[in-house]
Amino acid sequence: MSLASLRDRLSIIEPIRGGAVSIDAVVKHYGSQTAVAGVNLEIEPGEFVALLGPSGSGKTTLLMMIAGFEQASEGAVRIDGADVSWMPPHRRNIGMVFQKYALFPHMTLIENVAFPLRMRGHTATERKRDAAAALRLVGLDGMERRLPGQLSGGQQQRVALARAIVYRPPVLLMDEPLGALDKKLRERMQIEIKRLQASLGATVIFVTHDQDEALTMADRIAVMNHGKIEQVGTPIDLYERPANVFVASFIGETNLLEAIIVGAEESAWVLRLVNGSVVRATPAAASTPVPANGKTVKMAIRPERIVLREPGEGLVRGTVGEVIYAGSSLIYFIQIGDAGSLTVRVPVQSIGPRPSRGDTVFLSWDAVNALAY
């Protein structure tokens, strides 16, 4: 759907006042297992926050505790300042979109969307008007009398979305809502949901294991691993300044090399790679004191931030292994002595050398683009 038609349809529903969600030292144990190991997160009204992490990282458990389907073992969940930790889900007034849509198969689309209004005691006239408006908002007008089984996956997820916003909840939770859709449709729905959220103003907490989805949609991303938040930040923060090695390798592609500290400059550390090359990298956290010379650190650099040079211009000498043509870019796997292999991504349109397999190349990068941990 085009942006113009979305704007037209958005006038159907008044903006929602987003709720503030505060997760305060939340811990969740299942027997001896710890699913969530102490999470703090403040979410502003109207913010779109993604909980991103591998499976088993505790992101879904955290969402279930916000929804009220699970109770925190320790800590509290607050919505607009009120502690809702022990409030049952049906009284929290939260919208929820499930991965498998969770539409009621025995109800028509309009009955599905009107269900929350019915639970809230709205009159039949109100229900019909508001549910029809919500269906129109997601572009499914004219299908009111159909059953969910007659719809495609994408359409079903739109109905689920309409059902979750029709009662204008201040907080909307989404549990991998696009996980069951194919790639093309998923990308379109990402943009659509993002626009819808931006126009409606509801706070959205969105669980995903797909980093592209998180980067595309979220105002802020909380990267989770082993029940903890590794880093919270804007997509740019996470990509440009990953706080640790986990985030650096989880968000986007990254090259990780071992190196030894041999000195420090004003804003960069001087490192020696295993093959003997001396390079410069920026400490990931500016406040970190410079480790003693000889200490081993990790250096992270993105494939597209490495530049191929003519001999003599570069810092690091390597041998070209595989070369992969990926449409918009060329991907080189370059062996740099004993220090390991680096992936280098070069835009097809860029100037510079085009080495082939077995050639010797020289690499360089800006110290600001290499991060040391």
Binding site: G68, H106, F115
Partner: protein
């Protein structure tokens, strides 16, 4: 000549392909093989079921000339009408009791997992593997004049003299409900297990409390299970022989028992055939009506 000779094998091949296609149904399973596999069952059914039942029904109409006298006898005797009515009333009561008792059990089972599920499944299945005779006799042990229940109630001091618990309609209903309960629980349980776990959660998140989640989501989606359970228990109860014969008294004569008497004791086969025909036709009509009524719900749930 050469042209014809070379064309013939090609034609053969295409015929062969067509035959091969005809041999397969939509699932790619050869039809002759399928027929061969069901044939023993079909022959067995024909010999042991269709033929005798057909003959019994035929006997009721031709002995040896066509006559409706047996059916007129059923219509003219209030006793037989009362037995038929009682049979349907008892079957309905048993079905309702099994539904009311079985649904909560199925609901409870659907929430279990792991070893608890194994134990609970065994508890449901074990009675099914026990002889109906044994289960009916156990009710005699419990309900008879000096049985467990009477002794217990007298020990409690609730009653002074033993209650006549056995050989009445209540005893028949209790025992039959017990015997037929698994047939109600299993299909409902299957329907509940097939329901995605997300659905009740979604309903809750949308503002429905426990009872409303049940009423608006869980119950409607379990209706196919309720329908098959109800139908199965009702049909089984209609033709039930052993339990009513054992725990029921002379005043709780049911249709199956009456048919048994006519064939085994009185050797009045034509009249037994007429009774069987009445039972069969009434059952078929009820089942058809029931299917029509619940078929609509089933369609909506799928």
């Amino acid at each position: 000549m050469e042209a014809i000779a070379s064309a013939a094998p090609a034609k053969d091949a295409s015929i062969g392909r067509r035959v091969a296609l005809l041999m397969r149904n939509s699932k790619g399973f050869p039809i002759p093989l399928a027929v061969a596999m069901v044939a023993p069952l079909l022959i067995g059914l024909a010999v042991a079921f269709v033929q005798p039942v057909g003959q019994l029904l035929a006997t009721s109409l031709w002995h040896p000339d066509f006559t409706l006298v047996e059916y007129q006898r059923i219509g003219a005797t209030p006793l037989y009408f009362r037995i038929i009515a009682r049979t349907f009333l008892l079957a309905t009561t048993v079905t309702v009791a099994a539904l009311l008792l079985g649904y909560p059990v199925a609901l409870f089972l659907a929430r279990l997992s792991g070893w608890r599920l194994t134990v609970a499944t065994a508890c449901i299945m074990l009675p099914l593997w026990t002889s109906v005779l044994v289960r009916s006799y156990s009710w005699i042990v419990i309900l008879q004049r000096n049985g467990l229940l009477n002794t217990f109630l007298q020990w409690l001091g609730v009653i002074n003299a033993p209650l006549p618990l056995l050989y009445n309609e209540l005893a028949v209903v209790v025992a039959m409900t017990h015997v037929l309960l698994p047939y109600m629980i299993l299909p409902i349980w299957a329907a509940l297990r097939a329901m995605p776990r997300d659905l009740p959660l979604a309903a809750e998140s949308l503002g429905a409390n426990g009872p409303r989640v049940f009423w608006h989501v869980v119950l409607p989606l379990s209706m196919p299970g309720v329908a098959s359970g109800t139908l199965m228990v009702f049909i089984l109860a209609l033709g039930f022989y052993v339990t009513p014969a054992l725990v029921g008294g002379p005043r709780t004569l049911m249709l199956a028992t009456l048919i048994g008497q006519q064939t085994i004791e009185l050797l009045n086969w034509p009249f037994a055939g007429a009774l069987a025909a009445v039972l069969l036709v009434t059952t078929l009509v009820l089942v058809a009506a029931f299917n029509r009524f619940l078929g609509l719900d089933k369609k909506a749930a799928s």
